[in-house]
């Protein structure tokens, strides 16, 4: 049961930041955007965008493609589906535990 890396936690930590959620939205709409293009769309510096992209990449949510001089980014949403599945199954477990709590009264 024990894994090396808490992927669910990393996904939610990545999505906890509103600017990063905007980056995710933009990449979902237009795969292959560059960091410069993202910085143009958002009220943050290119350096800040680079940091956000690194967090998304580390959480497994974005992949990078080097094309010529500028790197292009693409969303890899599978970890989000896993994180959603964790929420659903953890929620279901609490439903069971709370049902047992009722039975014990």
């Amino acid at each position: 049961m024990r894994l090396e890396h808490d992927t669910t936690g990393a996904v939610f930590a990545a999505l906890a930041d509103p600017t990063r959620r905007e980056v995710v939205r933009l990449l979902a709409e237009r795969p292959g955007l560059t960091a410069s293009a993202l910085a143009d769309e958002l009220p943050v510096t290119r350096q800040a965008i680079a940091k956000h992209l690194a967090v998304l990449h580390d959480a497994g949510l974005a992949e990078v493609e080097r094309e010529g001089r500028e790197a292009r980014y693409r969303l890899t949403p599978a970890p989000m589906a896993d994180a959603m599945a964790w929420m659903a199954s953890t929620g279901a477990r609490w439903d069971e535990r709370l049902a047992r709590l009722h039975e014990r009264l």
Partner: protein
């Protein structure tokens, strides 16, 4: 701070048709979560008698999570609210709250 789904916090609520002291006894009873707390290596974080039980344990995908159980008086009994979220997420949310608060006078924030 309200934690909601967007932060990866799982939240469930139930109404127990008994007074809060009885609900608290049931929540703390070893027969309810006792075995799981042992299997998941639970560590108590905060216990407020009759009100709140909060602990960390091994969540379902292998990461540590924080479980927060609170009891409130309700018209027909006691409302029991449970929130569970990964610690990694809690720290990130705490850090971003601290960063936004950093516009004011400098304060040390622990996240």
């Amino acid at each position: 701070m309200q934690l909601h789904e967007e932060a990866g916090a799982v939240r469930r609520e139930t109404l127990l048709p008994v007074p809060r002291e009885e609900a608290w006894a049931a929540v703390c009873d070893d027969d309810w979560l006792g075995l799981e707390r042992e299997e998941r290596r639970a560590v108590d974080e905060e216990v407020v008698e009759g009100r709140r039980l909060s602990f960390t344990w091994d969540g379902d995908d292998g990461g540590r999570t924080l479980v927060d159980i609170t009891l409130d008086d309700a018209e027909d009994g006691t409302r029991v609210t449970v929130v569970e979220l990964p610690l990694v997420t809690l720290r990130a949310v705490g850090a971003s709250v601290a960063a936004r608060a950093a516009d004011g006078p400098r304060m040390l924030a622990c996240a």
